[in-house]
Amino acid sequence: MKVKSSNPAVAPSGKTSILGVNQSRKAIERTATIIFFVCGIVAILAVAAITIYLIASGAPALGKVGILDILFGTVWSPTADDPSFGIAYLILASIFGTALAICIGVPIGLLAAVFLAEIANSKLANIVRPCVELLAGIPSVVYGLLGAIILCPLMYDIEEAIFANDPSHQMTGGKNLISAILVLAIMILPTVINVSESSLRAVPQDYRSSSLALGASKIQTIFKVTIPAAKSGILTGVVLGIGRALGEAMAVVMVCGNVANVPFPFNSVRFLTTGIVSEMGYSSGLHRQVLFTIGLVLFVFIMIINVLVNVVLKKGVEKE
C-alpha cells in the first residue's frame, strides 16, 4: 500500500545497503512475495474453476435434451421409460418462494434493524444482537427439522380445513410452499438485520439532528430521513437475502414436499436446490447431467445477484 515505496531495506543495489541485506534475505523476501501473491489469486482461481466445471458438467444435458425442453418443460419424470426433464416449475418455485420469503422477511428484518440502530439503548441492543447472531449460526438442517416437526403439522391442519371438500387437491401433509417460505423468511432475517443495521448506523448523525430540529418526531425522522438515506445499504441486504434464500437447500428440502408441482401455496413444490439434493444420491447418466444443469441455472441466478451487489449497488454507495 502506501508504505510500499518507503522500504529502505530493499535498496536498489542490495549489496551496498548499510543494513546488511544479503542475498539469502533477499531470496526470503522474494519467496514471501510470491507466496502471498499465490494466496491472493486463489480466490480468482477458485471462482474460475467453479465457473468452468459447473458449465462443463451442466451444459452437455442442455444440448442432449434441448435448452427449451429443459428450461420451459413442465414435466419432471427423470426415471420414467420416456424420461422428461422439464424444470420450469422448479425455476418458478425458486422464484416465487424467494420472492415471498423476502416479502415477509425484509419488513421484519428492517424494523428489527431500526430497533437495534435507532431505538434500543445499549443494554437492550446487547440482548437482541446476540440473539440475531445466534439465529445466523443455527445450522440449516436444524431449521429444516424444526420446520418439519412444528410448522408442517400446523400447515396440514389448515390444509385439511381448506381443502376438505376438494377431491382434486392432493393432500401434502403440510409439506408445501408456505412452510418453505416461512422457513426461508426466518433464515434470511439475520442477513437483512445485520446489513440494514450497519447501513442505518452509517447515516451521519447530522441528518437526524437536522430533522429533529425541524420538528419531526423521532419515528418520522427514522422513516422519512434515516431509512431513505440508508436505502442503498438496505437494498444490498435485501439482495444478499435473495441470494441466501435462493441457494438454501437443506432446510427447504425437509419442508417443501419435493414434488415438481405448480408453485401454489398449498402444493408440494420442488426448488432448484432441493431437486439437486434429493436426487443426486441415486441419479446416473443423463439424469445426473440434468441435475448439474439445474446447478448451472442456479449458478446463473446467483452470479446475476453477485454482480448486482458488487457492481451496481456498490457503485451507488460510492456515488453517495
Binding site: 500500500m1 502506501k2 474453476a49 445450522p139 436444524v142 429444516g144 428440502v253 439437486i276
Partner: protein, 306 residues
C-alpha cells in the same frame, strides 16, 4: 406540518426542555410498537428454537448415556454420535489448516503487497463472489473437481478442500479488516529501523492483528459446524470410527449436520435427530460466545493502544 409543529412548540413552551416530543402522534405510537414487536420476533424465535430443541433433545441424550461417547451398532441396537463428532473435528481442523494460511496470506497480499488497481479489484470481486455462492453449488463443484477429477472420491479430505473454498472469504475479509486497524506508524517504524518487509509482517503486523484473525477463524468454525449441503456429496455419509489416524481422511464421513439430516430423512428417527440438534445448538452457542469474547478483548486492546 410546520403549523402543527409550531403549535406543538407553542403549547409546550412552558414545560421542561423536551419541547418537541411531548405530544405523541398516533402513527408514531403504532410504528414504534411495530418496531419493538419485530425485534421481539427475532428474540422470541431464537428463544423458542432453543427451548423446543432442549425439550425434545435433552431426554434423548439423558436416556442414552452413550449418545455422545458411543457409536451406532446394529447388532446391539445402540446409537451414538461419537464418529460424527470426530468427523466434524477432523473437517474443522484440516479445513482450517488449509484455509487459514491461504485466507490470511490473501489478506496480507491485498493489504501490504498489492498496489491498488485492477488485480486487487478482481481479487476482491472474486472473494465477494465466493461468499455469495450457495453451499450446494460448492458441493457440486467439490464432487466433480476434488472427487472425480482429483480422484479423492467421497472422502473427508474432499469435503475439507470444498469447505476451504467456502470459508476462504470469511477468513480473508476478517483478516483484512484486522490488518487495516494496524496503524501505519507501526509499519513505518519497523521499516525505518531496517526490518525487511516479511520480517515486519511476521513480527509487527501479524501479532498486532491476531485478535481479528482469531475472530475470523472462530466464525469459520461456526460455518463449518453448521454446513451440510456442501458436505453431503463430498464428505459423504459414513459413520465409522477412526481406524487409522491419517487414513481416516480418505474415508467417507458424515458430520453432525449430515448425520442429523440422514437421521430424519432416511431413517425417520426424529428423536435422535433432536438429540444431535441439541448438540449442534450447544456447539454454535459456545462458538458464538468465544467469538464475542475474542472480539471484545481485541476491541479493548486496540482502543487502549489507539
Amino acid at each position: 406540518m410546520s403549523t402543527q409543529t409550531a403549535s406543538v412548540i407553542h403549547s409546550n413552551l412552558s414545560n421542561d426542555f423536551s419541547i418537541l416530543t411531548k405530544k405523541k402522534r398516533t402513527s408514531d405510537m403504532v410504528l414504534r410498537v411495530l418496531i419493538i414487536f419485530c425485534a421481539f420476533i427475532a428474540v422470541a424465535l431464537i428463544a423458542g428454537i432453543i427451548i423446543y430443541v432442549v425439550i425434545r433433545g435433552l431426554p434423548v441424550i439423558i436416556a442414552n448415556p452413550n449418545f455422545i461417547i458411543g457409536q451406532r451398532s446394529f447388532l446391539q441396537g445402540t446409537y451414538g454420535i461419537l464418529p460424527n463428532l470426530i468427523n466434524t473435528l477432523y473437517i474443522i481442523v484440516i479445513t482450517l489448516l488449509i484455509a487459514t494460511p491461504l485466507g490470511v496470506g490473501s489478506a496480507i497480499f491485498l493489504n501490504e503487497y498489492a498496489k491498488p488497481g485492477k488485480l486487487v479489484k478482481i481479487i476482491e470481486f472474486t472473494t465477494e463472489t465466493l461468499s455469495g455462492i450457495p453451499s450446494i453449488l460448492f458441493g457440486l463443484f467439490g464432487m466433480v473437481f476434488f472427487g472425480n477429477v482429483c480422484g479423492m472420491g467421497t472422502s473427508i479430505l474432499c469435503g475439507c478442500l470444498t469447505l476451504t473454498l467456502m470459508i476462504l472469504p470469511t477468513i480473508t475479509r476478517t483478516a483484512q479488516e484486522a490488518l487495516k486497524t494496524v496503524p501505519l506508524s507501526y509499519r513505518s517504524g519497523a521499516l525505518g529501523i531496517g526490518a525487511t518487509k516479511w520480517y515486519m509482517i511476521r513480527t509487527v503486523i501479524l501479532p498486532s492483528s491476531i485478535g481479528g484473525i482469531a475472530t475470523g477463524v472462530i466464525l469459520a468454525i461456526g460455518r463449518i459446524v453448521g454446513e451440510s449441503a456442501a458436505l453431503i456429496f463430498t464428505a459423504g455419509s459414513g459413520s465409522n470410527m477412526v481406524s487409522h489416524f491419517f487414513g481416516h481422511t480418505m474415508q467417507s464421513g458424515a458430520t453432525l449436520t449430515v448425520e442429523m439430516y440422514l437421521r430424519y430423512t432416511a431413517n425417520n428417527d426424529t428423536d435422535n435427530a433432536f438429540g444431535i440438534a441439541l448438540v449442534l445448538i450447544v456447539l454454535v452457542l459456545l462458538i458464538n460466545i468465544c467469538a464475542g469474547l475474542v472480539r471484545n478483548r481485541f476491541a479493548k486492546k486496540t482502543s487502549a493502544e489507539g
